[in-house]
Symmetry: C2
Subunit: 125 residues, 2 copies
DNA sequence: AGTTGAGCTAACTTTTGGTAAGTACCTACC
DNA sequence: GGTAGGTACTTACCAAAAGTTAGCTCAACT
């Protein structure tokens, strides 16, 4: 089949398939961390900002917008002053979050392996 | 604990933890596709290039080098003419590949959901 | 009155990614 | 025998994306 989005299944190996866009969003640097973090419950914008080391406000806002558009994150504004915005995962987002958190945990668990491999590689070149 | 790489576990939520580098490599646009593809067996450079729609030679080479350095991909050169280079997954690479392929498959299976969510979002803005 | 905090957005800079070409060697074709 | 094509890259260049900085509004706190 071709990579047409006719309501059937996608193919990430086809360059023109819309799954590529979603894959890029979900696997983007900050999205993996956001999805993993929101798995533990609803959070506010600045809570997320503090929890995820190194994100700028711009990138966090951008990431959250992309995830919201893809239907993974729910954004709820409380029209109070000062502004209060809650972010949580949708049903779809929970599924995505579990996958990426699994990956993150696996990487964390195998850090020594990576460090060792990098050392060996670098000493050869 | 801090994000020091003293041989223990990492923390992807700390900006200075070396797991961040590995996470970035594994979740980079082309690495997810390379890892998923090599799960089916050893492949040559240009086989990969043809199998993964849209990769440039530069990016494929760069991606493979990063994955090799992290100990996920094994590169074997056969000193013949014309050049012949085989790429395969290490034991570590197989584990990573299974995780990212799971993610890819999940995205492919839920494409209609994403397309629908995007449509709803765009019609509101 | 000045600072802080919330949640952004716009302007600007740096980094990354993509395109195109070059390299070295051999094979097959016309 | 000159040309085209295949293999596995590397290098130079440019556009697109990511990242940094500053600014914004409104209110509370000092």
């Amino acid at each position: 089949m071709t990579a047409i989005s006719d309501g059937r299944r996608g193919d990430v190996y086809a360059s023109d398939c819309p799954t590529r866009v979603v894959l890029d969003h979900v696997t983007s640097r900050w999205a993996t961390l956001v999805l993993g973090m929101l798995l533990d419950g609803t959070m506010r914008f600045s809570e997320l900002r503090r929890a995820i080391g190194g994100v700028s406000e711009k990138m966090l806002a951008q990431t959250l917008q992309a995830l919201e558009r893809d239907g993974l994150v729910l954004r709820e504004v409380r029209p109070v002053i000062p502004p209060h915005v809650d972010y949580s995962l949708t049903e779809l987002g929970v599924q995505a979050g579990e996958q990426v958190r699994g990956l993150c945990r696996w990487i964390e668990d195998h850090l020594p392996n990576f460090l060792h491999a990098q050392g060996v590689y670098d000493s050869r070149s």
